[in-house]
Symmetry: C2
Subunit: 400 residues, 2 copies
């Protein structure tokens, strides 16, 4: 496999070869046909990038990739971002359409009005049109404005249609995931090295951000779809707090939920640092989690389900006296903020998703106890022979 | 003024004093009354934080602050994040309600169904309910699920209702903005110091991320709502590209659109570095922009409008032979990803917003030319006597 970026001579650079995008489009078309869709409007930046290569921090304004029933997809967005599309998508310039800037954050106009007019002009305002109803970047107002402009069309909920096509990674994607894994492993190694009582949390996070961006093993680091979550002590009883400048303290646990990222592919992993001697109850929790992780990984066989992994994990955890009232993982891969999950399968009792080789998951058995948090997590790839951890980060509590 | 964080003895820390939150709630209630709303559902994380103090990276699942017609607002979200709410909001524990984890990213259920039931149980499922129709975190599906559950209520578009209350900053907020300004000034100083031909872009960005998180003048740095935008050469003809590992090159311009952030308050600022001797055409563009910035700043008087600032800016730019087909700025303050703007006023011809002392704006006169980009921008505060720059970052191109 040659290495990215791939250049086509026109100034465009792509993370994958053209054949990979063709295969993705073919999978998407098959799913569209199965759902009886004439057209698909893709608002999720991760899905836009997966289909076309588009990469830019422009998702704070309305934009989309439109997949008609046949032919190339086209990119639609703010006119100034059409310039970025020309640098990053595999389609030609005639498949890039910008709307004028006065539509942006203007209470009297909505960009979806412009899109409706464009679709009508191209003869695409007809039939069953898929939209990603629960995506962050397809707002209630966007849907309302589009529906008004596309009277006579049926807007069909196609939430997750592309996300599910992304579940099984190609060999090229798996190589990206492994590069991201090396990065997060390096980040955790650095944290274990420098964490100590008195270190201001933001100073430690500054080093985490630096390490993640430098990358590892000659591969540069991209930005994470979720900022480092690094709470200590009682703040670590909650899962999603970020940081301030309070110093780390002896006797406290701090978890670090972070990701290594290579060309938008995420390998998240959490580890927990305890400064001083952990109390027995905390050691008991660690032991229960590690045994439950082993059980969950053993159940991660192709042909079994996410629900089977969850059953193995939760049964073992509960047998050792702990419980958890939230899911224990989710699918991972290409992502943009605000979520590094793919929003498809979950490691949750009853989840019927059948595991297949090439799926990648963040097995995320976090405990948020009443007096502190414990996160020891494993990003995994499902192989022919079972779940394989993507990193070699030492498992278990980091005690310093 | 005493300094944050403010602790209330229950383990909660707040960035502002309680009186500030009371004043914000009173302003919000007045706006609700003016709009004839019985209740307001706040989905925008920036608005949630401004009203209640809530701070966590949990906005990738559905959550809200609900402001009833009278009494305290309440926080609603995923059960695990109720723990984070207890650590960060000024309301008591009885004003924090979590929904169960099986609602999360589950195609068969939607969290808004749980919210609808909760509102009904509290006697709030009646009358005119404001919703933020165009917010990233109020999806088409969220609206649909809520509307189905709240039959008989009128869901009214209240997009921007709170954002507009945030436009004029309090003295405490202005002190946060000035701290953020010192941070971005330090970041640009560092960039000017280390940028050089051959430096891999991600290595430079690693230092930017580190500097932003370390903070400045004894104030720690928070994460930005937009990652550093740092394109070089032809990539800088586009506004929103991020980075990779290609080295900086002699003869190329690179712009750095970054923000200093203090407790979620953003001070964005862009500067452009040219390695080598800029061509005359580029110097001409710089001169035109600097004169146009001066003209725009001079027009930034209280009582005049954003449109007046835009006219002064665009007229001057055009008189010097350059043009720009996008807005030249927007309101700034408290923000969460994906946008550090407040999404209210824009520096755009015809914008009728009357400038008032205490407003803060990113005056953003960027040019994306056919052969490169030029961004030299100024975050400003409107004072009694006019627009005042928040930083002392030297204006003009950085030539090395």
């Amino acid at each position: 496999m040659t290495s990215p970026p791939f250049e086509d001579g026109s100034g465009t650079t792509l993370p994958f070869e053209r054949a990979e995008y063709a295969a993705r489009l073919a999978k998407t078309r098959a799913a569209m046909n199965a759902a009886g869709l004439d057209m698909l409007l893709v608002s999720d930046p991760s899905n836009m990038a997966w289909l076309t290569g588009y990469d830019g921090w422009s998702f704070y304004t309305h934009q989309a990739v439109i997949v008609p029933g046949e032919g190339d997809p086209f990119w639609w967005g703010r006119a100034m971002d059409a310039r970025g599309a020309r640098r990053t998508v595999w389609m030609g310039d005639d498949a890039i359409v910008g709307y004028e800037d006065h539509y942006v954050q203007n209470p009297d106009l909505h960009p979806m009005e412009a899109l409706g007019d464009l679709l009508a002009a191209r003869g695409l305002a007809r039939g069953r049109i898929g939209v990603e109803m629960d995506n962050y970047y397809y707002s209630a107002k966007a849907h309302q404005a589009l529906a008004e402009r596309l009277e006579g069309c049926a807007l069909i909920d196609a939430e997750g249609l592309i996300n599910w096509q992304r579940a099984v990674k190609s060999p090229a994607e798996l190589s990206f995931m492994r590069r991201a894994a090396r990065i997060v492993q390096a980040m955790h190694g650095m944290i274990a090295e420098i964490a100590e009582p008195g270190l201001a949390k933001n100073v430690l996070v500054a080093e985490i951000m630096k390490a993640g961006t430098l990358g590892a093993d000659g591969h540069w680091g991209d930005y994470p779809a979720i900022m480092p979550l690094t709470p200590s002590g009682m703040d670590a009883t909650a899962p999603h707090l970020t940081w301030d400048d309070r110093p780390m303290q002896a006797g406290e646990a701090t978890f670090f939920e972070i990701a290594g990222v290579y060309r938008r592919y995420h390998c998240p992993q959490s580890r927990t640092v305890f400064l001083g001697e952990p109390p027995q109850r905390y050691r008991d929790a660690e032991r229960a989690v590690l045994l439950a992780v082993d059980a969950g990984l053993a159940a991660g066989q192709p042909g079994r389900t996410c629900g089977d992994m969850a059953d193995a994990f939760f049964d073992t955890l509960e047998a050792h006296g702990f419980s958890k009232d939230s899911r224990a993982g989710y699918s991972i891969g290409l992502s943009y903020p605000p979520d590094w999950g793919e929003r498809t399968m979950s490691i949750r009792r009853g989840d019927p998703t059948v595991l297949e080789p090439g799926m990648t998951l963040h097995f995320m058995p976090a405990l948020w106890l009443d007096d502190g948090g414990l996160e020891i997590t494993e990003p995994v790839v499902i192989t022919d022979t079972g779940a394989q951890c993507l990193t070699e980060t030492p498992r278990g509590l980091v005690v310093k």
